[in-house]
């Protein structure tokens, strides 16, 4: 079992070695943070065989970030969802965001990294790539997600339809933003409401868009655990982040600032 992380990068990132560095980073994160590896720092910490001081410094960083999200979400996000220390709910988005940052630090201004359905976009996509795809229509210059450079347009990120496998509920335009979705579509009811200890109910899918994938992913998980009513108020209160939800009944709602992210049909 694993997570596939895919990169869409300029060829220069391959030649310059930054892609390789980003992949090395992900494998390092896997070694340190995987709860499925008995010798990972996270496993050893969960078993109380080491203290935080005996772990990689990034472990303390992740713990502190998880604490911050737990506090701001009223306890709906936790680094111990099953009662055992397991910060996976934060680590995936955080690791993918940092993989994208490694490419940025090496000079790339246009790339996309998708780790297990959590997407970090940097810049926009090169316009030439779209025309090469031979598709019709134009999404250039649409509102909201302006891409930084001429010759670029926003990345198009589909949100999986929770009721129709293989289908898309919506397409988002994202430039310099992250998109994270929590839902039951593929893995069933796997998000636990930490206050009740039961799988969260009421929502089929909840997507958060914003600058940081680490936060978007954690916010999506927390909001999903809250259920529809509480999630709506809470996501509306998050500065810089917008949300789109699909309820178990198929109803949808979105935060006030979400509409500009939707790609024109």
């Amino acid at each position: 079992m694993g997570t596939v992380v895919s990169f869409d990068v300029p060829a220069a990132a391959v030649v310059g070695g930054s892609l390789e560095a980003a992949v090395r980073w992900l494998h390092w994160v896997d070694r340190i943070f995987s709860p499925y590896r008995p010798d990972s720092d996270v496993s050893l910490l969960a078993a109380a065989e080491v203290t935080v001081d005996g772990c990689a410094p990034e472990v303390a960083e992740v713990i502190s970030a998880c604490t911050a999200v737990r506090l701001c979400s009223g306890g709906y996000f936790t680094a111990a969802p099953g009662g055992v220390f397991d910060p996976s709910g934060y680590v995936k988005g955080w690791a993918v965001e940092r993989a994208a940052a490694i490419l940025s630090a090496a000079g790339s201004t246009s790339h996309l990294v998708n780790g297990g359905g959590d997407v970090q976009c940097v810049g926009g996509r090169p316009r030439s790539a779209l025309s090469a795809a031979g598709a019709s229509g134009s999404s250039a210059g649409s509102a909201g997600s302006s891409s930084g450079l001429p010759g670029e347009e926003p990345w198009r990120v589909g949100i999986a339809d929770p009721f129709h496998r293989g289908g898309l509920a919506l397409v988002i335009e994202a430039a310099d933003s992250a998109v994270a979705t929590s839902g039951t579509a593929e893995r069933g009811a796997h998000i636990i409401d930490p206050h009740r200890g039961h799988p969260a109910a009421g929502l089929a899918s909840l997507t958060v868009v914003g600058p940081s994938l680490a936060l978007a992913d954690a916010y999506a998980t927390a909001a999903f655990a809250m259920g529809p009513a509480r999630a709506r108020d809470w996501t509306e209160s998050l500065p810089g982040y917008e949300a789109y939800a699909i309820t178990e009944n198929g109803d949808t709602w979105q935060t006030a600032g979400f509409a500009p992210h939707i790609a024109p049909a």
């Binding site: 079992m1 694993g2 896997d30 709860p35 995936k92 780790g115 090469a132």
Partner: protein, 146 residues
């Protein structure tokens, strides 16, 4: 600008695999011969055959059919079929994965948020099929540690 897509399989969070793919835009197309027992190609269609990926359940291999650089079909050439579970996977999971591939392509999107899949073998073989026409060839190859 030439771009490349790679996929890397890690066990971060122990989650299931994601299907995410993108065709390589500036690449010379290469037609791979039709394997037996799959539909014949129509004029204008190209087939790209992925590597057979060994999984713990058995080999998985796919073939991608394209027309004008658009994926119009994915054929499963090999998949495990020895146990009841294997057959369920063959009847349920693969059609779903193929559907996802086609939906993603037809919606002209770069990526999908919220879709995760268990079928590393499918993804790996699909990726290697798409790599067939990558100008960067082996540099775009898959690093699979599942």
């Amino acid at each position: 600008m030439r771009r490349v897509l790679v996929a890397v399989v890690v066990t971060v969070a122990g989650l299931v695999a994601l299907l995410s793919f993108k065709t390589h835009m500036n690449s010379s197309e290469r037609t791979v011969g039709s394997p037996p027992s799959v539909p014949p190609l129509l004029p204008g269609e190209h087939a790209l055959t992925g590597r057979a990926i060994r999984t713990v359940y058995g080999p998985v291999q796919v073939r991608v059919v394209e027309r004008s650089r658009t994926i119009i079909g994915v054929n499963i050439l090999q998949h495990p079929a020895e146990t009841t579970m294997d057959i369920q996977i063959g009847q349920f999971a693969f059609p779903r994965l193929v559907g996802e591939t086609l939906a993603a392509q037809s919606a002209r999107i770069d990526s999908v948020s919220g879709a995760t899949y268990t079928s590393n073998g499918y993804i790996s073989s699909l990726q290697s099929a798409l790599d067939e026409r990558s100008a960067l060839g082996k540099q775009g190859a898959l690093d699979n540690r599942a």
